[in-house]
């Protein structure tokens, strides 16, 4: 079975790598399997290693006894309590991403029909299809593996790391089996588009959850002074109702390994049986019957783009992420930092948003060229919509902060500067995209690494040289800082205006 999986995955990963716009490197051609796992797991591994190293180094100075200290009346060790939130979130993230991911990738992949004609086992096809969606649940893995490894380390040193890894691996098997069952159920009533949207949203939500948890969950637990709250909390988090706690118990020696492993094995066997008998049939989502509007509406391209924006999880994520990030700072009552980081992220994302909106037209190329509108009428909404959306959110954010008194009134003057930054960034994204219109657009990333760095570099420069410079110039009282306060913003604003005028002219005469 594994040789079949490796052969199919080798070619499917080559296909995926080539359909994305990532610059091909020789490794992906020569070692497609290795590069597949490297590509899809690198972010999770970096997160996982960071969390593991951070916790081990943080707790190393404390005595190991503290970590293994059993909280009176609960039977739960402090170590278990510390890692259980990660497992709790990791499990939710995994199930929320993997099950819908499997639904759309397994039951409605365009190549499944072809794969079924090959002399390979059905279970091999299922395995490949599950591995293909690795990026979706990789963030779940980034939370689950460190939790067991950290607990194992503080329990039994370096050997504990291995045992912790093993526990994570078995738990992963259980999660996979549960996801497969869930996917089979979801397939009954969920169409491909809905499943794909949920899977992508869950993936992005997991990143947000990770950022949130990293900032808030752990400090809250360690800072709590209420014994009752702690007891209640530990009872919930390490409840045997959550399968992750079985392996936690096994790791700390309060539970037999064979029980948890046995149950896992049963589930995996059941899921494997299920997967070898799957029908791979296409399911249609249940839909409400609609009706046509009786009259034509104005601005059809704007309406269509807004609808597509609303339905594209990646675009929604890019609208939501700066707000979530700002909220993290707001929870710490850091209003200036909240607005500054919102603008920074927005500046980067607005360029990408316009490129992703443009991508929608290129995905159905040359159909848009048959529409009776100019190229300008097709491109303009992709610049206007992100600019208006991000600017409106920023204006509301500033007004709210002014209203609750977390921001000084003069900072309201930043609004027009921010609108200019967002507009310039959006235009920059669109311009970079249209410079190479025959780029591959089927992958999730529309820009090459160099283009991403270009967008990030230029937009960050604009943000730092305006908002950053003004804030720093005011915060410092040194005579030298007048340069930052006045000169840098003037130069930056002038450069943005120049860029907007010049690029708008270029794009006016643009044709494909």
């Amino acid at each position: 079975m594994w040789s079949e999986v490796a052969t199919i995955l080798k070619y499917s990963s080559l296909n995926i790598a080539r359909s994305s716009n990532r610059r091909r490197f020789r490794g992906s051609e020569r070692y497609p399997l290795l590069s597949f796992f490297a590509r899809n797991l690198s972010v999770a591994v970096v997160f996982g290693v960071m969390i593991t190293v951070f916790f081990i180094s943080m707790m190393k100075n404390q005595s190991v006894e503290i970590f293994n200290y059993v909280i009176e009346g609960t039977g739960v060790s402090l170590g278990e309590l510390l890692v259980s939130p990660w497992l709790f979130i990791g499990t939710i993230v995994f199930l929320a991403s993997a099950a819908p991911g499997m639904t759309y990738n397994l039951f409605d992949s365009p190549d499944v029909e072809f794969l079924l004609t090959l002399p390979v086992r059905r279970s091999s096809i299922v395995m490949v299809k599950n591995l293909e969606i690795l990026p979706y649940y990789s963030m779940g893995l980034a939370m689950i593996f460190p939790a067991y490894i950290i607990l194992g380390y503080f329990r039994a040193g370096w050997i504990g790391i291995f045992v912790g890894f093993l526990a994570a691996l078995i738990y992963l098997g259980l999660l996979w089996a549960l996801s497969a069952f869930l996917a089979s159920v979801l397939n009954v009533f969920m169409g491909r588009m809905v499943a794909r949207r949920i899977a992508t949203m869950a993936y992005f939500a997991s990143i947000m959850l990770l950022v949130f948890a990293y900032n808030y969950f752990m400090p809250d637990i360690t800072k709590t002074n209420s014994i009752d709250a702690l007891l209640k909390y530990s009872g919930f988090m390490t409840s045997p109702l959550f399968p992750y706690s079985w392996f936690l118990r096994a790791l700390v020696g309060r539970h037999f390994w064979w029980i948890s492993s046995g149950i896992t094995l049963l589930f995996v066997y059941g899921a494997a049986r299920l997967s070898s008998n799957l029908e791979f049939s296409r399911s249609r989502s249940h839909v409400k019957k609609g009706s046509f509007l009786a009259r034509n509406r104005a601005f059809p391209v704007y309406r269509k783009d807004l609808l597509l924006l609303r339905r594209d999880p990646q675009l929604l994520y890019m609208l939501a992420y700066p707000v979530v990030f700002a909220m993290i700072f707001l929870l710490q009552r850091e209003a200036t930092a909240a607005s500054f980081f919102y603008v920074q992220l927005t500046a980067i994302y607005s360029g990408l948003t316009s490129a992703l909106l443009l991508r929608q037209e290129f995905l159905i190329w040359p159909v848009p060229m048959t529409f009776p509108v100019t190229m300008r009428a097709l491109v303009l909404p992709k610049i206007v919509i992100p600019t208006v959306a991000y600017s409106t959110i920023y204006t509301f954010l500033v007004l709210a902060l002014l209203f609750i008194g977390l921001m000084e009134p003069w900072m309201g003057l930043f609004i027009p500067i921010v609108v200019l930054i967002i507009f310039s960034s959006t235009l920059l994204g669109a311009w970079i995209f249209l410079r190479r219109p025959n780029r591959p657009v089927k992958g999730r990333n529309v820009f090459t690494t160099v283009e991403v760095l270009m967008v990030q570099g230029i937009t960050l420069l604009w943000t730092f040289s305006t908002l950053g410079a003004i804030q720093l110039g005011i915060a410092r009282d040194w005579s030298f800082y007048w340069l930052l306060k006045y000169i840098a913003p003037v130069i930056s604003i002038s450069s943005m205006i120049y860029f907007v005028i010049k690029t708008s002219r270029k794009m006016r005469g643009f044709n494909l």
Binding site: R192, V287, N296, K304, Q360, F371, P372, V373
Partner: protein
Amino acid sequence: MIEAKGLVKKFGDFMAVRGIDLKVLPGEIYGFLGPNGAGKTTTIRMLTGTLKPSSGEVRILGMRMDESEIEIKRSIGVVPDEPKIYENLKGREFLEFIMDIFKCPRSETLSRLSELCEAFGVDYLDNFAGEYSHGMKQKLMVISVLMRKPRVIFLDEPTVGLDARSAKILKLLLRKYADEGSTIFMTTHVLEVAEKMCDRIGIINEGLLIAEGTLDELRQLSKEGHKNLEDLFLELTGQGKVDEIIQAL
């Protein structure tokens, strides 16, 4: 009416279309045939304004493409070789978008649309286009053009993916529209379709229009006396040595 004069398209050093002249009159169904890579789709894209010619002139309904592109696009309908639709739009939303962008008179278009949906068996307008099969997309694409009843219709391989009933209905509808004065330009690999439907046929090979005329006129070009379009086509495009290949296999 469709008119092309000295139409040339170069992609770098490669010349895909090497000077095509053609004229299709109102009420006519013109079949544009050629082997794979002959330049059919490139030509149709230049005629529909989706690709700029390297040189030459295109006139549709008497208007020059380089001068009145938008006006021309509003008057024509195009069914491309691949039915591509925004995946995150439902069929109904896509059709509404088409009605809005082409500024179609709503009530007239809607009544025609409901008839077309019934005829083609389209009952999936509330599903997302991303969930459609090739055939379902093709039907939607055909309907989105026919509901507007444009004066000039371009179809690139329109029967691919359609079931027998839908293909038959499409063929009859195109004939009806042509009889009512529409100009129809279509490419197809199904030579029986071209033989039965088209009033005139043009054959393109390696970017050149090598033969043009009614079926009878094309028959006269055959040195080997071929009568049916398939043999005629293979002879004219230099692909006639099929028997030898079959023997060798």
